[in-house]
Subunit: 655 residues, 2 copies
């Protein structure tokens, strides 16, 4: 006996409600509501091979409504992925299970990206679809020819990032992107009408999308809609009318079924209503066979693809993508030592990128409408748009969050290394995506210029003060603040070589002298190092980052003139310094010297390096509008203001 479509879909429903019940925690409503749509997608449309979840030409499936994680775990299990096993599913939401509360790409192969923070899955899918079109343009249909599918709920569509994401997709005419909208009319607080009167299809059409509708519980109608979707020359929204929690007879269709276990009685009632007469976690063999057959669809195309790859003229170019030499920029650094540059570090970043983009084909640059300020566009880089997917520069528009999420999607897709720019202060707009870069181990490089009061007249709305420190606390994010052209190159080198996570490079608007005179190794990669050592007996260690290293050098000069020895320690990256061994750190931060930090931002956090006995110079309130040199005076960040306070401290006076 062959399993029916309903049997297959109900297997998802049963696994989902049983796993949530066992965990006594989770979200049964979405998996039960979207089981039919997902069954059609995974059995008929999605190109994938459970034997090799990393097959580069697979379709990407993104569960943007990540709370419905059991939908995805059920699908991966049923179609024959090695994990999750039934045991994994029984341990849903337990420590050590790959079946975490929300899908995590770093825990389970087959999970393309980490979702749960609403709206970002769909926005990452846009980046995946960009990467696909770009690689298709570069390597041809024979290597790259796949789609990106998304399941999204009302939450994903209501979030602001949805506007940015679909704006990018509509502009770029990403017609291989299909969003399956779980249109169940329910949010956590109640019916969608509690908070919205929006005509979502009209909004998508206004943004360059094609829209299809279907009954999300009617197999034939879903097939009709998906056939229409894959034929479109635009990105497609499929409005799937569904009942949340479908199958739970007393709770379906209401917000009660969204985020809590159904409860023993309702689970039993659902079994009756669905005609599912099997114990918890048991799937009859005929249903297993039907699902495994669906999973086996990918074997042949995968094998054929491997043959095409073996025969491809640029196979080596394909395979080396993403391999970055750790000393990538040594020639560029040597040229800087030969021809010293007094430039803003944002300009130094452009110089480094000129070298990077010439060596690495896989970089895709961009900016959230600040190209000329972020210096992210290098000579010869063509625009990536709907007429030229082979280009390598994206005008993302005024969409910082959408840009960051798209870059996450590109990095996770693989084959490209994205970087993108905005002002450092607007890291706040993109912060939720920066966090996901870090959590997902995505190699994304954030180019954040105008990194302090040094930007001058634009004033406190544009002057980052707390941003450096607030970004340094994000785990697995390297925050760089180079002091000159050499350190900027070193930061880029380290950022690109970090394959398992994001980096953020904070860059100055104002010109800075080149302070580094040698570069036998990438000293910045240590996180902190003695740029200048004391000549007189050392009593002071001056710690500074970025544009304030120049000030530290001036402070040192004044101290040395009085016979007080002082090191200048440049601290381009806290995270890297904290990863050094104890001996190195003690050498840089000796016990017997007064430690003094200088950074044009909050002093909070510098205690880690200065101790509470040290001195910390910075900006602990908001900035102000004025020419930048006057602002540095105004906030006491000059050698003239700092030196007397150091002397007083050394003399035991009250600071």
């Amino acid at each position: 006996m062959t399993a029916s479509f309903a049997d297959c879909a109900n297997a998802i429903r049963a696994l989902s409600m049983d796993a949530v019940e066992a965990a006594n925690s989770g979200h049964p409503g979405m998996p039960m509501g979207m089981a039919d749509v997902a069954t059609v997608l995974f059995q008929r449309y999605l190109k994938f091979d459970p034997v090799d979840p990393a097959w580069p030409d697979r379709d990407r499936f993104v569960l943007s409504a990540g709370h419905g994680s059991m939908l995805l775990y059920s699908l991966l299990h049923l179609t024959g992925y090695a994990r999750p096993t039934l045991e994994d599913i029984k341990n849903f939401r337990q420590i050590g299970s790959p079946c975490a509360g929300h899908p995590e790409n770093f825990e389970l192969a087959g999970v393309e990206c980490t979702t749960g923070p609403l709206g970002q899955g769909l926005a990452m899918a846009v980046g995946m679809a960009i990467a696909e079109r770009h690689l298709n343009a570069t390597f041809g249909d024979e290597l790259v020819d796949h789609r990106t599918w998304v399941i999204a709920g009302d939450g994903c569509l209501m979030e602001g990032i949805n506007h940015e994401a679909i704006g990018i997709a509509g502009h770029l005419k990403l017609n291989r992107l299909v969003v399956l909208w779980d249109d169940n009319n329910i949010t956590i607080d109640g019916p969608v009408s509690l908070s919205s009167v929006e005509d979502i299809p009209a909004r998508y059409r206004a943004t360059g999308w094609h829209v299809v509708e279907c009954d999300g519980h009617d197999e034939a109608d879903i097939v009709r809609a998906l056939d229409e979707a894959v034929a479109s020359d635009k990105p497609v929204l499929v409005k799937c009318r569904t009942i949340i929690g479908k199958g739970a007879p007393n709770k379906q269709g209401s917000s009660k079924v969204h985020g809590s276990p159904l409860g023993k009685d309702e689970v039993a009632a659902a079994r009756v209503a669905l005609g599912w007469n099997h114990p918890a976690f048991e799937i009859p063999q005929d249903i297993r066979d039907a699902w495994l057959a669906a999973g086996a669809r990918g074997a042949a195309p995968h094998a054929a693809w491997k043959e095409r790859l073996a025969a491809h003229p640029d196979r080596l170019g394909w395979e080396r993508r993403g391999d970055v030499q750790p000393n990538l920029l040594q020639p560029h650094v040597q040229s800087l030592l030969a021809n010293t540059q007094k430039v803003a570090t944002r300009k130094a970043s452009e110089l480094a990128l000129e070298a990077v983009n010439a060596i690495l084909d896989e970089t895709i640059g961009g900016s959230a409408d600040l190209t000329g300020s972020n210096n992210t566009l290098t000579k010869g880089l063509q625009r990536l748009d709907a007429d030229n997917y082979g280009g390598r520069y994206i005008n993302y528009g005024i969409r910082e969050f959408g840009m960051a999420a798209a870059m996450n999607g590109m990095a996770l897709h693989g084959g490209v290394i994205p970087y993108g720019g905005t002002f450092l202060v607007f890291a706040d707009y993109a912060r939720a995506a920066i966090r996901l870069s870090a959590l997902q181990h995505a190699r994304v490089v954030y180019v954040m210029t105008h990194d302090s009061i040094g930007l001058g007249e634009d004033g406190p709305t544009h002057q980052p003060v707390e941003h450096l420190m607030s970004l340094r606390v994000i785990p697995n994010l390297d925050v760089w603040r180079p002091c000159d052209a050499v350190e900027t190159a070193e930061a880029w080198e380290a950022a690109l070589a970090k394959a398992d996570g994001p980096s953020l490079i904070a860059l100055s608007r104002q010109n800075l002298p080149q302070l580094r005179t040698e570069a036998a190794e990438n000293r910045s990669a240590r996180g902190a190092y003695a740029l200048l050592e004391a000549e007189a007996p050392r009593k002071v260690v001056l710690l500074a980052t970025g544009s304030e290293v120049e000030i530290a050098v001036a402070v040192r000069e004044a101290l040395e003139a009085q016979g007080i020895g002082a090191d200048v320690v440049s601290v381009p990256c806290f995270e890297r310094f904290d990863a050094q061994d104890v001996a190195y750190r003690r050498d840089i931060l000796p016990q017997d010297a007064l430690k003094v930090s200088i950074e044009a931002g909050t002093t909070f956090g510098w205690e880690r390096y200065t101790g509470n006995d040290g001195l910390r110079f910075g900006v602990d309130g908001f900035g102000a509008s004025g020419p930048y040199l006057k602002l540095y005076e105004h906030f006491g960040l000059t050698a003239g203001a700092i030196v007397p306070q150091i002397l007083a401290k050394l003399n035991g006076e009250q600071a």
Copy 2:
């Protein structure tokens, strides 16, 4: 001779280009492009009285495209506000001038909110329009009957927050909100078509707005459009077709005129093109008179309004709005002491809010679709919606950023005190608006629940780890993390009494014992205090916040059992503690004790209180998915794991 409309508009153009030229910094394009629309608005429609910029029933004008600040400064100057003076304008973008690079509400009366971070001005205007309708419903047309006008550019409309903001406005049918869209087809990178194919009017219509179009340089056509706008029963977008930098003959219509001075030659050419034959900063008297007459329009309605206020039956109720007694919640605290509560602090917050909302009429609560999780809705609070503007609870939808910005607008409008909830991890989505709450001195209370790994199974996407510390670095934001029901009430009391800035209250999902047994004063308001003092000779001071105070109490018990005296210091608010005098701080953090911090978040930053010799227990990577007690074990945040490390440290062993 009477000044013409063109003369009046050209006065704005001349002041703007001259001020930017003098500062050698700024954005002439927008003021010159929108001068005609702004002239119609300020001369014919806007209700305001330059003599009293704080008149509560004035129309609100929000320059969402804040980079065009000279447009606003010109208008305030010309219509007769006391500031900016001509001297102020000549000092545009200099330290000390109220004419900062971007408009700042705290620097200059007449600036309704601080703008520049794109999209947020419009979103704040939505909040102002909500406050207006709510107060109108409460006090009637005779006291509250005004409009909110916005000038926004393409950047404001492209940002994600625009989707959230117009979604709220469309849903609430805020027909007294009019957005004047400077449709000049230019962004910084070049033509809008570089990054967008969006049909903006269609999107606004899809979201419940009415859309009107006009030629933004044709006085009569602008008047026709605004007449239509004020007659609408929906919020209105007015598409004003304009030429950016209009009047600068060689640069207008291109991105060149957006963000740089025109240059001496182009300024001279613009004078010729505009027929403006006056020296820099000189405005002929007839033009001044015309503008002053426009400014004088408000005197009579203002006087009439004052009479209506004097006669209003609830004049006292009107005038006391916003006055919060510093001991507002003492009766509630006393009831907690009498009937101890073991509840999650999110539940404790609900209990506090029950008391608050009964005393203060002016609170307006809400949640970004997590009402039942944030515990923000108290009994008897009606929903505020288009059918009931008098309600006091807003279902904001899944729109954290839009909610936060709307709350800023409400607070700045005055007459209401907004609070709103989401999960703490999603503070990242709203962060740019939280920063603006702080910069603008806006009394907004953020209710952020699920404040650590203590939320359990939802896993690392939902578990804030770095968030507390990253929020503590925002200047002028009080971040509270109360440990029990009493501290929660004290946090609410302090937050509501802080009229000049925002507060954020981080609250647990899990139940916590009530640790406070006395409350003669609001001890939390000190920021940190000894909850328990050592009995044995003190060797240790345990510092903890929120749910980890319970752990500190258990650690103390184990230490005392071994004859080691330990204080437990609860630290509900770093900012408040840092503001205490040295003697108090030294008393809490004595030199001669080992300081140990326990907080289920990043340990970075705790060095300020523990010193580098202390111990810091926390979560320095991302969280995990599992039941919360198991997570606390997994991350070593139990008395059993902590006590041995303290003992080892006291014994001089390596930690």
